[in-house]
Symmetry: D2
Subunit: 345 residues, 4 copies
């Protein structure tokens, strides 16, 4: 006969979470939640494409699904929601979730314009719920270590920043039609990273962009390659190097020069094995995309959100952080269009 | 109202596992099972130190604990057991688990002598249950990649093998008193790795050992440092370089020279950030010990066991594999004592 | 009795070279010539500071010195000259050397304005003498390998270029007063490298600069840090990241993204030894400055010049190459002043 | 008119050197001397194959050649000789050079037996001439840095040493017939390196060898692959991993574990450029053989010899050093033959 009379199985203190949106990033967060975050429980999934929701629920043994996000928002057993729906729906869902008293984790960007952003964030603040935005890279071991080096003054005052951020291959044209463009959909991560790593605000931006990979990308009004120059409030200068196609995989690196040293993060690889033949010295390609590279970052990100809610701590990435990145992205877009440096007020 | 009427929540097909032994490695496997292996369920933990069992059960929300392994062995709801008890109890527990029809994952070594080993393995075979032995390093991404390179003939015929395997610090004298000695407790992993990587049997062994770290280790009849030379059936030559104290962390590397190339695996690090100051170029220390380095390997190992049972496939590391490593370990011990090369029959 | 009746000792075919300017770079080239270029002979050194010339001549066993460059230019035994004097004197010395029928190797930049540059280069062309400009980095093994990868189409069409080029410490204010400014004195190397690596012309430039290291640098009208954005004729985008102070040494790296791959060159180190202690994993600093990093590049550069003259081949770095880099440097300077992108005609 | 009235051109103080043996290593040292060692002058070359001597003299502008080494030994203008003849002639040439009062740099090994070795070294000592032996690897930047780390106590007491030393391809059978075998011809370098790096004497050796590359090597009584275990006087344990065929190039690495850290040296490469394509991440092969890898080491070695003579300092690698390596090589040979560990008296 077993001796155990424990409380654990009742799990009264696990955060009960509902997922809104069972698409690509929704699946990533759902899997992370179930497999990597023991303090939380994914109890429901909502997606208008109910089959996608049910498939994911079956895989992960999630008990409830619904075609309607509001089923989850009105469920008194749900403590918090992860908003992983298309960007256009973010502001309204944030407002509704806030009104329902749910804590909110929302994928970036909150909105494609500052007014919608501000309205949504204000709703969450008014309701007194937590709102964390999905800038997952802050939780990556390499970038977190870089940030720590700056905080610990290991390299002195930051003077130069360079971010390389490239996807393995361009997304579909369908995706690009509604993504808001490269600056809002892709570079926004790098703008957040630039603020995070340096600890300084971006005050000016100049973007030099091009369509070099696929002319079809121009037909939907986007570009696929750019270098964007940043000026920080502390005087530092930065550059972001974006491409929709690195070819060899997910190219996610950064480096800073400070007054007393430099710091550099390189890509992550599935293994570190090196093979030398009579022709070449070789290793396997780096991790292919964000689902591989940021597995641990996603786990850390969701764990941080769960901890913020359970322990009533400030969130790691706030609405104000997301607003700052959005403002820079909009300025970069304008810089690219007007072909001149744009200052942020 | 939720739409879901799914089957997942009933989890009829998850492998129900009992853990025997809530010590260091037991905790590792329990955590791995709960967090990383969705196809299995840890339903009970047994340990004579019932507080340790209960503490672990609380942490991981495992419903049952017992001070007695046989409570688990006699539970008809348990499909399989993980034997993580002290080595001396392995043979009897294997026999009992086999008699109870439980599939078995047993930590290495199965036994400290060949006869006990053989009896235990025979019991599992007679009962028709799966028996997988815990040589976790085979499931490490680096070493698995090396093995794949040999299988895929990327470097031709293997001629030289070198394994570096060093712990960050010596274990307690208490542990060393019953561990069976460095060859049976530590190098046995490397003997298994040597067979795994080359795909060839070890036919001769010569060990050169010493007590260089702590004279107290000599007082319990053990050594703390050695290099052991291997001869393989295919003519290749190998060496294993063991120390109980690498100081900078867990030193787990290997390399092979083949007739058409070479292959090399290095250590894993918590991040790849490099900091350059006016004095030095530096990075953080490698992962400190097996709980960090082999997180993924443990997950792969347990997942492989679960898959073997559920899909009735051969196990990845068999009793015969464990026997071969044990035989080499015993020969190495004898070589060290007699200060001469020892051939394996 | 010796058997040898050879011709070698007479050395009739070694190129006889005179050095104009015994300053820092003059010493580098003189040493290179004597120790690394067997097909040439340094026969005379001229410098108004005759003691510097004589000291160098003593060290390297050069038979002749003069305070006046024209002693060398009028020496019929001299085949070629290396112009290593201050930039302001370059155009006149090129013209005079050309008039004297001497082949010319001239340090960069030829001039600080395009008109002087053109006049000087035209003089060399009219005289039919070789004129090679000192963009030594083209002869560095790393950058030459990158160029070769582009030529051999190993990475497809170049889309993005990033050059990091930083000195270990700022030069003296005295030097800065006459250097022409960071774009003409330092970045000009990187503009040449950008053209060389991509094989494409720079058509637009935008420079974002700052004084971050030492306010005194502003007092002489210069900056010490900048990132400069480049647009190439083939559509590619580039950035150059310059600082007068890397602190840890000479930071000379580059990378390119192409349509089918990427290529990256890192710094060179005095050794590759890695030391791991219980605190950190470390290695020695990279090579400190150009005298260390470009030892081999200087040897290759001078050897290439000697070969061009002796075998009547086109020079590796022409007056037209130097003009292109100068034009970009002047545009970058203007971009920095006017804070806007500048197109090159 | 030139101002110079210097002394340099007379070069009264350059060490005048004669080369005995214009074969492979003779060419290396001759080239090094002429191009890299300004304090010495190569004035004569002797080789029974006079055409080889003359060809080399022509290339390097050396004024004298002879078919007979004694022409050089009896030349009063010669200060020192480099003995680069076949090993069998080393002892007699050392004796003769010593008798002629010439300082001696002799390639390793001095002899293939200890008696001849001792007689030759005694002759040099009796004559009061410098005798440096050609263990060039001590002068390599990586290995010198490792040695320095031990001297500076950066890693504490050395406990484990591992040397990897492999040629790109086996030498000709003709060479192997007279080389003295792998231990005397190849591993002797590693035995010297083992003593040099650890600063401790080798007291026991056990060699496990094989013919894995080419059965023809067995026909001349040699092996092509071995791992040799070392025991040092200070208790440390070492292993040397030798192969005649690394395939990818010259594999020259070493590492040590100490009581407070570890140190590791890897191979050198012609450039550090990394290319990533959609298939693989690759770099060029390491430097191919000793003429590439040890260019700088050879220059440092000869410069050290020249300095020892000119400044009357002890040589960096003495006859006693060479004797110790020879004794270990002979013991290793015996260990391989007798298949047992051999202690050194």
């Amino acid at each position: 006969m077993y001796a155990y009379l424990g409380k654990g199985i009742l799990m009264p203190d696990r955060l009960r979470i509902g997922l809104l949106g069972a698409g690509r990033i929704g699946k990533v967060h759902a899997t992370t939640l179930v497999q990597r975050v023991p303090d939380a429980e994914l109890v429901a999934i909502a997606d208008p494409q109910i089959e996608a929701a049910q498939r994911l629920a079956d895989q992960l043994r999630v008990p409830h699904v619904s075609p309607d996000a509001h089923t989850i928002l009105s469920d008194p057993n749900i403590d918090a929601v992860l908003i992983c729906t298309p960007t256009a729906s973010h502001p309204a869902l944030i407002a509704d979730a806030a009104a329902a008293g749910k804590h909110i984790f929302c994928e970036k960007p909150v909105a494609l314009d500052l007014e919608s952003h501000d309205t949504a964030v204000a709703a969450a603040e008014a309701a007194g719920v937590k709102l964390q935005i999905g800038f997952n890279r802050r939780f990556d071991a390499n970038f977190a270590r870089m940030r720590q080096a700056v905080i610990d003054d290991e390299i002195g005052q930051v003077e130069l920043l360079h971010i390389i951020s490239r996807d393995p291959a361009p997304p579909s044209l369908d995706y690009l039609r509604t993504s808001g463009g490269i600056f809002l959909d892709m570079t926004i991560h790098d703008f957040d990273m630039a603020r995070f790593l340096t600890g300084s605000e971006i005050v000016q931006v100049y973007a030099q962009g091009a369509v070099l990979i696929d002319p079809a990308i121009a037909t939907v009004g986007d570009i696929d390659t750019h270098v964007t120059l940043l000026r920080f409030a502390n005087g530092a200068i930065g550059s972001i190097d974006n491409s929709r196609r690195a070819g060899f995989g997910y190219d996610q690196r950064a480096e800073m020069l400070g007054s007393r040293g430099a710091i550099q993060a390189s890509n992550n690889y599935p293994n570190n094995v090196v093979i030398s033949t009579n022709k070449i010295v070789q290793r396997d390609l780096p991790l292919n995309f964000f689902m591989q590279r940021y597995v641990e970052a996603f786990a850390n990100e969701i764990a941080a959100f769960v901890r913020s809610v359970r322990e009533d701590l400030p969130v790691a990435v706030s609405g104000a952080d997301a607003r700052a990145a959005l403002a820079v992205a909009l300025a970069a877009q304008r810089s690219h269009t007007e072909q001149r440096p744009i200052s942020l007020a």
